[in-house]
C-alpha cells in the first residue's frame, strides 16, 4: 500500500467516524488499534511498528538560547578555563566533581544524583562542522540535522515519523508548548502541540445553553471536516480556481483542515489521560517542571507517543550570566530529577530516554558584560533507566591555539548522537532519517 493511499484512507476513515451519527465527536482509543489492523501492510516493514504499549519513548529537551556548556560541564582543573573566565569561572571547590578534571555546575545536584546512579550520560564536545553562531540558523541545523550550508524544510523527527508511522495517531509526537517545533516537520504533518490539556478541546455552543450543544457540535463537524472532492461545488470561475489551488497538497486550507482533524482525534484521548494519571513526584513550579509533569502523566496513561518535545528557554546569557545560569540549571536538574522519579514509580523508567540539546555553546572567554557570547561546541545529556552512563566523547581543548575564532572545536557530531538514538533506542535505521551514514554513538 502506498503512503498516499494509506494516508488518504486514514483521513477518510476519521472523517466518516467523526461525522457518523452513532459516535460522539470524540474519538475512542480503539481507533489506534483499528488502524494497526487496517494497515497491517505496514507491519511488513523491516522496522517495527511504531505504536505499542511497551515501545521506547524519546523525550527531546531543548535548552533554547545557547547553553554555556563550559559552565555546565566544567573543566575546573584547566588553567585556560580560569584565565578566559576570571569572574564567571567556577573553582574546583564549588563544582560537583565527576573526576579530577571535570565537574558539574553546583546547581545540577539532581543530575549528579542521576550520574551517581548510573542513569546519566554526558556527551562532551558536541557540535558540527562550520558552526553557525546565529540562534535561529543553528537551531534549524539541529532540528533538521542538516549540514551547516544546507537548508532543509523537514525536521529529523518528522522524517523519522515519515519513515516509520504511516497511519499512526497524530499523538505519535507531542510537543508541549504552543508552537510545533521544526524538528517535527515532515512530508505529512504529524504530532500535536499543546500547553494545557484542560483547554485542549472545542467548547461549542453559546454560553449557558447546554441544551443546544448537540446541533452546534454536529454543524461544527460538518463545517470543519469537509470531504476532499468537494472543491467542485464552488460556483463562479475565479473562486473555483482559487479553491482548486488551495486544495492542492500542502496548501494552507488543507493544512488547517488536517490540523482540525488531528486536534479532534487527539483531544479526548489526551485530556482523559492527563486527568486520570497523577504525578507522584515534586516538580519545580516552573514551565519546564509542569511540561515534564504533563509528559509523565501522558506516559503513565499509556498514550501511544514515541517522541515528546519540551523546551526551556533563557540561555542567551550575554550579560550578568552568573545568577541567571544558576537558576536555569537548577530548574533543569530538579525538573528532570522529578520526572525520572515519577517514571520510576510508574514502572516506566526504563522505557524513556531524555536527550537534551542546545543550538550552541558559548565563547570560551567571557565578555565585558559579565556574560558570554555565542560559541560553538557544547555538551548533551542522556538520561534514563537504560541510558549509557558516564562521560562520553572527549572534552575539547581550551588551549588558545586549539580554538576556532575563540570557540571550542567539536569532537562529536550531534548527528552521531541522533544516529545512536534512532538505531539503539527507537530501533530504526538512521540513514533514511539523517540522509547519510553517521556512525552511531552508543547511547544505551
Amino acid at each position: 500500500m502506498s503512503d498516499s493511499t494509506t494516508l488518504k484512507t486514514r483521513r477518510e476513515f476519521l472523517r466518516t467516524t467523526l461525522l457518523g451519527g452513532a459516535l460522539t465527536w470524540t474519538v475512542p482509543t480503539f481507533l489506534a488499534n483499528t488502524f494497526t489492523a487496517l494497515h497491517a501492510a505496514a507491519a511488513d516493514r523491516a522496522t517495527q511498528i511504531v505504536t505499542g504499549k511497551d515501545a521506547p519513548i524519546l523525550v527531546v529537551l531543548q535548552l533554547a538560547g545557547g547553553n554555556d556548556g563550559l559552565n555546565t560541564v566544567i573543566p575546573f582543573a584547566n588553567d585556560h578555563y580560569h584565565k578566559a573566565r576570571p569572574s564567571l569561572g567556577l573553582k574546583g571547590d564549588r563544582v560537583l566533581k565527576l573526576n579530577d578534571t571535570i565537574g558539574l555546575h553546583p546547581a545540577l545536584v539532581g543530575f549528579k544524583a542521576l550520574y551517581d546512579a548510573g542513569q546519566l550520560g554526558i556527551v562532551q564536545g558536541v557540535g558540527y562542522p562550520n558552526p553557525n553562531r546565529s540562534h535561529f540558523r543553528s537551531t534549524d541545523i539541529w532540528m533538521t540535522a542538516s549540514d551547516a550550508d544546507r537548508f532543509e524544510n523537514r525536521g529529523w523527527i518528522g522524517r523519522y515519523f515519515d519513515a516509520n508511522c504511516d497511519g499512526c495517531d497524530p499523538t505519535v509526537g507531542v510537543a508541549v508548548g504552543r508552537q510545533m517545533p521544526l524538528a517535527f516537520a515532515g512530508k505529512q504533518p504529524k504530532g500535536v502541540a499543546l500547553d494545557n490539556p484542560a483547554n485542549y478541546r472545542f467548547k461549542g455552543g453559546a454560553p449557558a445553553s447546554a441544551g443546544e450543544m448537540d446541533t452546534t457540535d454536529e454543524s461544527f463537524k460538518k463545517l470543519n471536516f469537509v470531504m476532499e472532492d468537494d472543491g467542485s461545488a464552488n460556483s463562479g470561475g475565479s473562486i473555483g480556481a482559487i479553491a482548486g489551488q488551495m486544495m492542492e497538497a500542502g496548501a494552507p486550507l488543507e493544512f488547517i483542515e488536517r490540523t482540525a482533524l488531528d486536534a479532534q482525534v487527539s483531544s479526548d484521548q489526551i485530556r482523559a489521560l492527563a486527568s486520570k494519571v497523577r504525578n507522584t513526584a515534586n516538580y519545580p513550579s516552573s514551565q519546564l517542571g509542569s511540561s515534564l509533569g504533563l509528559v509523565a502523566r501522558l506516559i503513565g496513561g499509556g498514550l501511544a507517543t514515541r517522541v515528546f518535545y519540551v523546551s526551556q528557554g533563557g540561555y542567551d546569557t550575554h550579560t550578568n550570566q552568573g545568577g541567571t545560569h544558576e537558576r536555569l540549571l537548577k530548574d533543569l536538574a530538579d525538573s528532570v530529577k522529578a520526572f525520572t522519579d515519577d517514571l520510576k514509580s510508574q514502572g516506566n523508567h526504563e522505557r524513556v530516554l531524555v536527550m537534551t540539546f542546545s543550538e550552541f555553546g558559548r565563547r570560551v572567554a567571557q565578555n565585558g558584560s559579565q556574560g558570554t557570547d555565542h560559541g560553538a561546541a557544547s555538551a548533551m545529556f542522556l538520561i534514563g533507566g537504560k541510558a549509557r552512563s558516564g562521560l562520553l566523547g572527549e572534552y575539547p581543548s581550551l588551549a588558545p591555539q586549539d580554538l576556532h575564532q575563540g570557540d571550542l572545536k567539536f569532537k562529536v557530531d550531534f548527528r552521531t548522537v541522533y544516529a545512536g538514538v534512532l538505531e539503539q533506542w527507537l530501533r530504526t535505521p538512521s540513514e533514511p532519517v539523517l540522509g547519510r551514514r553517521f556512525t552511531p554513538l552508543n547511547v544505551v
Binding site: 535561529f136 508552537q179 499543546l194 500547553d195 467548547k203 486550507l253 550575554h318
Partner: protein, 498 residues
C-alpha cells in the same frame, strides 16, 4: 514583472483583498467604498495616508522622564527592604504601561484612520523584533513604535540608521554595552543576518569588524537618548563587506544598505508580509529594482505592489494565515463590536502565540502555517466565543493555562487579574447592526451575508448545507441563532485565512 492590475478585475473580492492585506479588512460598507474608488483611487487612499488627519493622543506617560535615573540612584541610600519595594512598584508600573500601550496600538489598528500605516508598523515590529522582556521600559517601547510609524513607508537607509540609535534597540541587542575593549557583536550580527542582508551575504569577519565600528553607539540613561561616545569607540581601521577605512557606526549602516542584496532582502520580506507567499527570483528582482529606482523609499514601491496583477493572483488571494493580531483586529472590525480591554485582548493573542511588544526572539514571529497547531486552532475556535458572545470563559482558561512570568512568581497578581476579570462584563455582537431585516429573517440571504462579511468568498457546498441545517433546526431565526451561525463561521478552517 509587476504587471499593472487590469481594471476589469476590480470588484468586491479584489477590493476586499486589498483592504485585508494593506490594512485589517473591514465591514462590507468599507469594501464597497473602495470598489467605488476604482483600483488606483483605492490604493492611493491607503498609501497616501499622511493626507488623512490622525488625532490619536499619545499615552499620558509617553514623554521623557529625566528624573527617573535619579530616583533609581537615590534608592541606593535606602534599606534593602525599601529598595525591593520600590523596584516592585517600578515593575508594576511598567507592566501597567505596556498593557496600556498594547491597547493603545490595537485601538489604532481597529479604528485608526490610517490602516496601512499601522499594518506597516506591525511589519517593522516583527522585522526589528524587540521585546519589553529585556528592555523593561514602556516609554522606550512606545518610542520605537512611533519610529516605525513615522518612517513606516519612508527611506530604508534612514529607518535602519534610526533603529540602530533607538534606545529600545540599543538595550535589546546589547549595543549600549559595547566598548572598544570588548565589542559586543549582537547588533552587528542581527543587522546583517536579520535586518538588512540575510544569511550567506556576509562573513563572520564582517560581523566582528562591524561590531568594532559600532562601538561608541550607546544610550545615555540620564537623558534617555542615544549618544555617541568617543572614548568607547574603536577608531582603528576596519574592513567591512570589502571596504576598508576608519569606519563609524553610520558608515556601517551606509555600507550595509548599499549592498545590492539590501534592496532584494527587504523587498522580499515586504512582499511575503503583504502577499503571504515568497516572491520568485524574478519578482524579487523587480521589487528590488523598484525600491532602488525610488531612491530606497518604500512608498512608490508599495503603490506599485498593491496595483500589480501579481498581488491579486489566485495563489495570493485568501491564502494567508491570519496572525493572532490580524485575527483579533479583523474580527473586531467585521463584527463591528467594541474592542475589549487591553488585558483581555492581550490574553487572547498571547494564548494564540503572539504578544505585542514581546516577540519570542529577535527573529520575530515565524508566522504562516506555524500559527496553526492543533492547540492553537482549538484555542482560536474557543476564543471566538469571547468575540461573538462576550463570553470570558476562554479568557479565564487562557490566563490560567499560561500565567505570565510575573504572575507565576506572584500568585497575588494572578488572583488580582482573575478578580478583575470576574468584575468585567463584555458585550456580545449586535446582529441588528450587522444585517438588514431581510438578511435576518431569510435564511439564504443570511448565509450569503455571512459569507460576504466574514469570508469574502462562498462557502463550499457541504459547509453551506451544514449552516442551512443548523438554521433550519432552530425554526424561525432569532438573534441568538444568528450569533450561533457567526460563531460557527469563525470556527472553520476557512476563516483562519485571509
Amino acid at each position: 514583472m509587476l504587471m499593472p492590475l487590469s481594471a476589469a478585475r476590480w470588484n468586491d473580492q479584489t477590493a476586499a483583498h486589498l483592504l485585508n492585506r494593506a490594512g485589517f479588512g473591514g465591514p462590507p460598507a468599507e469594501i464597497e467604498q473602495l470598489v467605488a474608488l476604482g483600483p488606483e483611487g483605492a490604493v492611493n487612499r491607503l498609501v497616501d495616508y499622511e493626507q488623512i488627519p490622525d488625532a490619536t493622543k499619545d499615552p499620558e506617560w509617553a514623554r521623557p522622564d529625566p528624573e527617573r535615573l535619579q530616583r533609581l540612584a537615590a534608592l541606593r541610600q535606602k534599606s534593602e527592604e525599601e529598595r525591593r519595594l520600590a523596584l516592585r512598584e517600578e515593575q508594576q508600573l511598567q507592566r501597567q504601561r505596556i498593557m496600556e500601550l498594547r491597547g493603545w496600538w490595537l485601538r489604532r489598528m481597529v479604528s485608526g484612520p490610517r490602516p496601512l500605516q499601522e499594518k506597516l508598523t506591525l511589519f517593522w515590529h516583527g522585522h526589528f523584533a524587540t521585546s519589553v522582556e529585556k528592555v523593561r521600559d514602556a516609554y522606550y517601547m512606545w518610542r520605537q513604535n512611533e519610529l516605525f510609524r513615522r518612517l513606516a513607508s519612508g527611506s530604508w537607509p534612514q529607518l535602519l540608521a534610526e533603529v540602530g540609535k533607538d534606545p529600545a534597540m540599543l538595550i535589546w541587542l546589547d549595543q549600549a554595552q559595547s566598548r572598544r575593549e570588548k565589542p559586543n557583536e549582537n547588533f552587528a550580527r542581527e543587522l546583517m543576518e536579520l535586518f538588512a542582508l540575510g544569511e550567506g551575504h556576509y562573513t563572520e569577519k564582517d560581523v566582528t569588524e562591524a561590531a568594532r565600528a559600532l562601538t561608541g553607539w550607546t544610550l545615555d540613561r540620564a537623558t534617555q537618548k542615544f549618544v555617541e561616545r568617543d572614548r568607547a569607540h574603536d577608531p582603528g581601521s576596519k574592513t567591512i563587506l570589502g571596504r576598508t577605512g576608519n569606519f563609524t557606526g553610520d558608515d556601517v549602516i551606509e555600507i550595509v544598505v548599499a549592498q545590492p542584496q539590501a534592496a532584494r532582502f527587504i523587498t522580499g520580506k515586504l512582499w511575503h508580509y503583504f502577499a503571504g507567499v515568497r516572491p520568485d527570483a524574478a519578482l524579487n528582482d523587480a521589487l528590488a529594482a523598484e525600491l532602488r529606482a525610488a531612491g530606497m523609499n518604500f512608498k512608490p514601491l508599495l503603490r506599485k505592489l498593491f496595483l500589480s496583477e501579481e498581488f491579486y493572483a489566485p495563489n495570493v488571494i485568501r491564502t494567508q494565515v491570519k496572525s493572532p493580531v490580524q485575527w483579533l483586529v479583523m474580527a473586531i472590525r467585521q463584527l463591528e463590536r467594541p474592542l475589549p480591554p487591553p488585558q483581555v485582548c492581550h490574553t487572547l493573542t498571547r494564548s494564540l502565540g503572539q504578544e505585542l511588544f514581546q516577540p519570542p526572539n529577535v527573529k520575530g514571529w515565524d508566522g504562516g502555517l506555524t500559527w496553526i497547531t492543533t492547540n492553537n486552532l482549538l484555542t482560536r475556535y474557543n476564543e471566538a466565543a469571547t468575540l461573538v458572545y462576550g463570553d470570558l470563559g476562554p479568557v479565564r482558561d487562557a490566563m490560567r493555562a499560561n500565567p505570565n512570568r510575573a504572575a507565576a512568581q506572584e500568585p497575588r497578581l494572578q488572583r488580582r487579574m482573575e478578580e478583575r476579570l470576574d468584575r468585567l462584563r463584555l458585550a456580545g455582537v449586535d446582529p441588528e447592526k450587522l444585517f438588514t431585516v431581510d438578511e435576518r429573517f431569510k435564511k439564504e440571504e443570511l448565509i450569503a451575508a455571512l459569507e460576504r462579511r466574514f469570508l469574502q468568498a462562498p462557502l463550499r457546498e457541504t459547509q453551506r448545507q451544514a449552516l442551512r441545517q443548523f438554521l433550519d433546526a432552530r425554526g424561525a431565526t432569532d438573534n441568538d441563532d444568528i450569533l450561533g451561525a457567526i460563531r460557527l463561521i469563525l470556527c472553520t478552517p476557512d476563516y483562519q485565512l485571509t
